[in-house]
């Protein structure tokens, strides 16, 4: 979908609310605000792979009046709703305790940049709560609308589809809620319910399907994946004069390394990928990559708990097959939400693995004793703290760097200082963006939870206003030209966001910056950085 609305046109919105009650405002499907439904062949494959988790496959378009819902759609939704209330205390409590204080309202990037009141997290949750009251509470059944209840009509499903695919599950609202109501939980439940009646989007299910079959979300087959790695090794040799090793699918190593596959095929992620190869070669890490478990990002998280578990299970399965001691995970956002909050519970206990110990520094990672999986910036910051790397940060002197905290590592994990420590060891110029836009208060790139598709560009740019403005601020004030991040979806979604809201800022992975500064044993005098652009002083 061609989308070329200029910023000044996009900014024609305000925070006014309609006169009508929100229940009387029907959902409106404008171009750029919704994602395409899943293709039938994708659903058929997934349905086979999961023994029926993706029912009611058909051709449909959200702008059609008739969504061809299954005949028993009401019963399916009610049954699914009840099941989830019984499975998750979070869902049940969050349906009951909201006092509609509105503290969350202006925390959502889509509301900040679009002004649609149904993107206030409180109201987005009311889309479900109104049905919960109508179907599952006595007051709602008797008092109806006076108790905030409404009937389950087809428009409700349409509204769910529109707004729960306008939520990136970034959890910023949850931070400010006095009861910790987490809209991500609510969005996850709503999306699961939508699957029951065959309403889902392709940009989530195609990656999920690819991850299941080929091991990575791009659907790259093993030989092609390996070919791309060899290609990168050639590039590294050309730049540094060092031929790095790239062990793949090899048994008997100490460590398995898993990173999001987005980084192997698209710039600027590829440079981060090269950064890992260079770092591990330089320190002589005894490790392997895997093509079977070549995806860190888990699109199951945006689908259902079953799909999430199924995709995540590959990591432990492969660690077991290859006989490694522990796993290191690369720079990825939602991969780390799954790893930190779900993995061991879903697919553990990982008793065939050991508590990670850095072979270079001897540091024992007790905070990952159960999962046996550590984050690359935990690993690298430890190397730096112990002075195990020879670094020349002046090679990044042409960059004035700021750091974008990715939602999931920030708000589902609390990984805030490790990446900053790493950046500050390899860059001489580091500035922070304004404090209300970083660390736990960070803004979403607006493409998270599987919404980083081009047909959704208007919402992405609207949602990007928070990050875009903060970036523009440090660009004007401090001359920032580099935005570092530890998430592959960021590396895909922030370049267009920066071009739109803060033109002139380039996006980098943290380990690309590390690799630029890394002085490798036996390297030739470096003239260019990983992007084959001249290093400072070599122009």
């Amino acid at each position: 979908m061609a989308w070329n609305v200029k910023p000044e046109e996009l900014l024609q919105y305000d925070y006014k609310v309609p006169q009508k009650n929100w229940m009387d405002v029907p959902p409106e499907f404008k171009p750029g605000t919704w994602c395409y439904p899943a293709k039938a062949e994708i659903l058929e494959y997934l349905n086979k792979a999961t023994k029926g988790d993706f029912p009611h496959i058909r051709e449909w378009v959200p702008t059609d009046a008739d969504w061809k819902l299954p005949e028993d759609w009401r019963e399916r939704i009610k049954k699914g709703f009840r099941e989830r209330l019984d499975k998750y205390r979070s869902f049940k409590v969050f349906m009951d305790v909201c006092v509609r204080c509105g503290a969350c309202a202006d925390k959502c990037h889509f509301y900040i940049g679009g002004g649609d009141p149904k993107n206030m997290p409180v109201l987005r949750a009311e889309l479900l709560r109104s049905i919960y009251r109508g179907e599952f509470t006595l007051a709602g059944k008797i008092l109806g609308r006076l108790a905030g209840a409404r009937k389950l009509e087809e428009d409700v499903i349409k509204e769910w589809f529109l707004y729960f695919y306008q939520c990136t599950e970034c959890r910023r609202c949850s931070l400010f809620c006095p009861y910790g109501i987490d809209t991500a939980e609510i969005t996850m439940m709503a999306r699961e319910l939508l699957h029951l009646v065959g309403c889902n989007i392709n940009w989530i299910l195609e990656p999920a399907s690819n991850s299941n079959r080929t091991g990575n979300h791009m659907g790259i087959q093993p030989h092609a994946y390996y070919g791309m790695m060899e290609f990168m090794c050639d590039d590294i040799e050309e730049i540094t004069g060092v031929k790095v090793n790239c062990p793949v699918n090899e048994k008997g190593h100490e460590v398995l390394f898993i990173t999001p596959s987005g980084d192997i095929f698209a710039d600027p992620g590829t440079y981060t990928y090269m950064g890992y190869l260079m770092l591990f070669h330089e320190i002589g890490l005894d490790y392997t990559w895997s093509t079977y478990a070549s995806e860190g990002g888990n699109f199951g998280l945006f689908t259902s708990d079953r799909m999430m578990k199924k995709l995540n299970a590959k990591m432990y399965a492969e660690a077991k097959r290859l006989g490694v001691k522990y796993i290191i995970g690369g720079e990825c956002g939602h991969m780390w939400r799954v790893l930190n909050q779900y993995m061991d519970t879903m697919n553990g206990p990982a008793d065939f693995l050991e508590t990670p110990v850095s072979p270079i520094t001897g540091t024992r990672f007790d905070n990952a004793a159960g999962t046996s999986m550590i984050h690359i910036t935990e690993f690298t910051s430890d190397l730096m703290k112990h002075g195990k790397l020879k670094l020349d940060p002046s090679r990044n002197d042409d960059k004035i760097v700021t750091f974008h905290d990715s939602c999931n590592p920030a708000r589902a994990m609390g990984l805030l200082d490790e990446p900053r420590y790493v950046i500050q060891n390899v860059c001489n110029n580091f500035v922070e963006m304004p404090e209300d836009t970083i660390r736990e208060k960070t803004f979403c790139c607006s493409g998270g939870s599987g919404l980083n598709t081009d047909e959704f560009m208007e919402m992405r740019m609207r949602g990007g206003i928070g990050r875009g403005n903060a970036l523009r601020h440090v660009q004007q004030k401090n001359g920032v030209n580099t935005l570092a991040t530890i998430c592959a979806i960021d590396r895909a979604t922030l370049p267009p966001l920066a071009r739109y809201w803060a033109p002139g800022v380039e996006v980098y992975g943290v380990h690309e910056l590390v690799a630029n500064a890394l002085v490798m044993t036996g390297e030739k005098p470096r003239e260019v950085d990983l992007r084959q652009e001249p290093l400072p002083g070599m122009e």
Partner: protein, 348 residues
């Protein structure tokens, strides 16, 4: 409209009490039986609700982390926003429940510049502690009023309540001396109500269920204040009734207490009976919120999901290699089975 319906509902309750206990002379009903019923409904409803929540498991640890996790010993761990132990989690919860920590964090969005400025339009954030302040005034004054009322149920009156009253009345305004908590409760509820009326976004999300409890609490507070400062209800008669309530003694003779007392008691009865079925249950729910009451330790320790489905399994490596074996061998990638071995297995 929602606000009007709620206001009418509270008025209707006042009228019911005035007519019932006053004109119809059903003092016994309004003074004893309805309060007893309300307390029973509250207790049963509250317990049922909490048990209902507790019956659903917490399959995953999903704390919303508000600071640096526990990691290297040289990185400062933000213990109370990102707890790693039960003790730290307890402190986090205490900060939340006693000081409304999350609301204190609140910031408000502001837009500067016009659309014509293109990318130079600004979205900024400003500290927004009004809601935190209003909520704090409201809840703490309510708590003090509640505790102060114990004197009516306890004989002799415990010394801490006497002390509390001394603090409350130290300004010595009026006769009888003004309880500051009563005034603060009315102020707090009014501020919260005004916020709902005046902020368009908050008005848009407000339901009858948001206005009704505020009006009801205002009704309770105002009827109490009227009773103390204007209607001058006989306090000894009131204490006789409350002691009878507390000792479950239906034999007490209720006369000469004054209609306003029954209005007050009836509104309180409605409030406590309504509580378990309404959003006021946030009082119990805040303790059960999985994003706040769990330590962020799921990488350090294994937690079991009671309904984890062992039948959900990864697409197996064997199936993967079977599909891509030839290409893997060609690319020089290690495989579990050679082409011959695979052919042999297939033949079997």
């Amino acid at each position: 409209m929602n606000a009007l319906y709620s206001l009418f509902a509270v008025f209707a309750l006042v009228v019911i009490a005035l007519v019932g206990a006053g004109a119809a002379g059903m003092e016994q009903l309004f003074g004893l039986y309805i309060p007893w019923l309300a307390i029973a409904v509250f207790l049963l409803g509250f317990v049922a609700k909490v048990i209902g929540w507790a019956k659903s498991p917490v399959p995953f640890r999903i704390p919303t982390t508000g600071g640096q996790m526990k990691s290297h010993d040289w990185i400062r761990h933000d213990k109370y926003d990102n707890p790693a132990t039960a003790g730290q989690t307890f402190v986090r919860m205490a900060l939340e429940v006693l000081l409304f920590r999350s609301l204190f964090r609140n910031i408000a969005v502001q837009r500067f510049g016009s659309a014509a400025d293109g990318v130079d339009v600004k979205v900024r954030y400003a500290s927004a502690k009004w809601l935190w302040l209003f909520a704090l005034i409201f809840h703490y004054s309510f708590l003090v009023v509640f505790i102060r009322h114990w004197r009516l149920f306890l004989d002799p009156v415990p010394s801490f309540i006497v002390a509390l009253e001394a603090v409350e009345t130290f300004l010595q305004i009026g006769v009888p001396t003004l309880y500051m908590s009563g005034a603060a409760l009315v102020l707090g509820a009014t501020l919260l109500l005004l916020r709902r009326f005046l902020v368009p976004q908050v008005r848009y999300i407000s339901q009858a269920a948001d206005y009704f409890p505020l009006f009801l609490i205002l009704g309770v507070a105002l009827s109490g204040i009227v009773m103390r400062y204007w209607a001058k209800t006989d306090i000894m008669a009131v204490k006789e009734v409350t002691m009878a309530l507390f000792s479950l003694n239906p034999a007490v003779h209720i006369e000469g207490v004054g209609a306003i007392f029954f209005v007050h008691v009836f509104l309180v009865s409605c409030l406590i009976a309504y509580l378990p079925f309404s959003k006021l249950m946030h009082m119990g729910g805040v303790f059960l919120s999985p994003t706040r009451n769990l330590p962020n330790d799921s990488r350090a320790r294994y937690h079991r999901n009671p309904w984890n489905d062992p039948n959900v399994k990864a697409h197996s490596y064997t199936a993967y290699e079977d599909e891509f074996r030839e290409k893997m061998i060609e690319a020089g990638l290690p495989v579990e089975k050679t082409l011959e071995e695979a052919a042999k297995t297939e033949a079997q």
